[in-house]
């Protein structure tokens, strides 16, 4: 697109912000008015406003010192376009994806933030209005959705793999981006006959570099499973169709298994065909168990179910298989789907719902007797991550965002924690009440294979100074505080997930 020519990467003052579109409003949607009123008195809502411009900063001011061995790019993704043509999305998950790239090189840290040019984003920004129903928003006179990629906003995660960069959104194809410029190349096609198949936002890369992923087709109740080589080639793809597969966002791997959690929900096809959004076509089934689906990696076909008490889930930390053959994993459990069905919708009109309880649970699956048990770890947390060197293996450290204070102004977290799974010890850093902490990830120090040897990096929104900070911690000592912090000259929209690439 021509506007790329006007993107300034370096401006004398060190601040670059390129206006690429003004948000016009013919007639304002009441959600936009409600949000604006609420945001005027609640600074925590600024992270949900969205962006109407892209970002670039050549040389971000740093406090402390960036470790010499920390070189590469930290990528993040999140929903960033929330308003168009006077209308506001009615769900946080609907915003068009904007990928952030924080590049660590010898001179310092630079940043660019660019929208993913999905079909939807291009068509709608050209039209100046939303054209399609999205995951959680129904619009008047929506164009028909003929394929999942019609609503693909590529906004949930971003993963570098085998020299490529993929923007991920569970409802559609991965979108391939240019790793340096973040130019959009287009939907990733792993094999011609798999064009348009969904590719989840939570692939798992094992320590050998093999990528596993899945894609859910909620109408068919089927998942496609992908095994991708470290070189980025599709090794094998299969489809598993099993009863009641719905609302699967993440999964975990062990050396021999793929592990999924299936909340007790159903997809009402009639509602969907009548024009309801994907979200509103889903129904909670009271009193039914949460099921664990375990698929054998050997054939990517054989599966079995286990049952856990009813619950809802977004994320896993990790899984492994112990010497007795038990599969163990952790996930962040919520009691029900109200977070996704209500809270993340209401926040878009400025209404902050009471925080739903989201707590780490440790699960043991007994493959011999078919029983699943779980242990609850108290503490409101989210965004679990582990050291990439231990994916699918026994692990010590689970990193999460943690909510340490009660407030009605937001439902986020101001702290990050490293929880030692086996001892129960917790190592915490609290940014303070003015901050909303986002997902933090472990970056392994090159040449080291010990779990935790390296850094924990992540962003936080400073709602008082209205800017986003990027902090680097010793991954084994969070309470010592950041080794270095880069403060951006702007606030980025709150986002979801990211990953690190060692190549600059």
């Amino acid at each position: 697109m021509n506007r790329r020519k006007f993107l300034a990467y370096s401006v004398a003052a060190g601040i670059g912000a390129v206006l690429y579109r003004t948000a016009g409003a013919a007639s304002a949607d009441v959600w936009e008015q409600d949000f604006s009123s609420a945001a005027a008195s609640n600074p925590y809502l600024q992270g949900y406003r969205g962006a109407t411009q892209e970002f670039a900063t050549d040389d971000i001011p740093i406090e402390g010192k960036i470790p010499a061995a920390l070189r590469g790019t930290f990528y993040r993704n999140g929903p960033a376009l929330h308003e168009l043509g006077g209308m506001r999305h009615h769900h946080w998950f609907d915003g068009d994806g904007m990928v952030q790239a924080f590049r660590f090189s010898d001179p310092g840290v630079s940043h660019i933030g660019r929208f993913v040019e999905t079909r939807k984003h291009v068509k709608e920004t050209q039209a100046g209005k939303f054209l399609y129903n999205s995951y959680g928003t129904e619009i008047a006179n929506s164009l028909a959705l003929t394929s999942p990629d019609d609503v693909n906003v590529a906004n949930t995660s971003v993963l570098p793999h085998a020299g490529e960069l993929l923007a991920l959104y569970e409802g559609g194809s991965a979108y391939q981006l240019q790793p340096r410029s973040l130019d959009t190349i287009g939907p990733k096609v792993w094999r011609a006959d798999l064009k348009g198949m969904p590719f989840s936002a939570h692939p798992k890369v094992d320590p050998a570099g093999v990528m596993w992923n899945f894609g859910l087709n909620v109408r068919m109740g089927a998942i496609v499973l992908y095994q991708i080589s470290p070189q980025g080639d599709l090794v094998k793809a299969t489809v598993v169709q099993a009863p009641g597969l719905v609302n699967i966002h993440d999964f975990a791997i062990t050396p021999r298994h793929l592990v999924f959690l299936v909340p007790p929900m159903r997809f009402n096809v009639d509602k969907f065909i009548q024009g309801r959004s994907v979200l509103d076509s889903q129904e909670w089934i009271d009193g039914a168990p949460m099921r664990v689906l375990v698929v054998d990696k050997a054939d990517m076909k054989t599966y079995r179910f286990f049952e856990l008490p009813s619950g809802f889930v977004f994320h896993f930390g990790n899984a492994w298989q112990d010497d007795a053959g038990m599969i163990r994993f952790d996930y962040v459990r919520l009691p029900d789907a109200s977070t996704i069905a209500v809270d993340m919708r209401e926040v878009m009109r400025g209404k902050v719902m009471a925080r739903n309880v989201s707590e780490t649970h440790l699960v043991t699956l007994n493959l011999k007797n078919g029983k699943a048990t779980q242990e609850r770890i108290p503490g409101i947390v989210e965004f679990p991550r582990v050291d990439p060197r231990v994916v699918g293996r026994r692990y010590r450290n689970l990193y999460l965002t943690a909510r340490t204070t009660e407030t009605s102004l937001h439902r986020g977290a101001s702290a990050i924690e490293r929880r030692e799974i086996e001892t129960g010890k917790v190592d915490t850093f609290d940014y303070g009440g003015d901050y909303l902490a986002e997902e933090h990830i472990v970056v392994a120090k090159p040449g080291e294979d010990r779990e935790g040897a390296g850094w924990l990096i992540g962003t936080a929104l400073d709602v008082r100074r209205r800017c986003t900070v990027l902090s680097i911690f010793d991954a084994l000592d969070l309470k010592a505080g950041p080794i270095a912090r880069a403060t951006l000259p702007y606030a980025l929209p709150l986002g979801f997930h990211g990953n690190f690439s060692g190549s600059v």
Binding site: A144, T146, G196, V224, I273, G275
Partner: protein, 146 residues
């Protein structure tokens, strides 16, 4: 050498002559020209299917045309059609295997489109949303490949 002209051909000639000279006479046939747009230049051919009954749509064609995929638009014509409702599906058979390929979740992996740019909701559109009414006059319709 005597020319042997078949009965059908005679009738056809008669129709043409009659239609040409006496416009007041009701003609029994018209042409439907299909303009297929949005070709991406990947070789193969454009397969165009014509449907005249809702119950056959979109699986069982009434008539079909193959156009080598070259410049956009690709143009083909169904001739001598009696008056009625017709819907058209066109797809770019990029690999030349004679069918609209789909992924394991049923989503077409080759570009395709319907007359009136009709779209279903994660499914083919209804016949009545895609159909045009053909009377006595020739018509041209456009199909955009997506």
């Amino acid at each position: 050498m005597s020319k042997k002209i078949s009965m059908v051909a005679r009738m056809h000639q008669l129709l043409i002559v009659t239609c040409g000279i006496l416009p007041a006479v009701e003609c029994m046939a018209a042409d439907l020209q299909v303009e297929v747009r949005g070709l991406t230049g990947n070789g193969g051919q454009i397969n165009v299917g014509l449907f005249n009954r809702a119950e056959d749509f979109p699986k069982t064609v009434h008539a079909g045309i193959r156009i080598p995929a070259g410049a956009s638009p690709a143009i083909g014509t169904f001739t001598g059609l009696p008056p009625g409702d017709y819907a058209v599906v066109a797809y770019h058979d990029e690999n030349g295997n004679g069918q609209l390929d789909r992924n394991p979740f049923g989503q077409p992996t080759e570009p395709y489109g319907f007359s009136r740019d009709a779209r279903g909701r994660m499914a083919p559109p209804k016949f009545e949303d895609a159909s045009v009414t053909l009377g006595n006059d020739n018509q041209t319709i456009i199909v955009d490949l997506h």
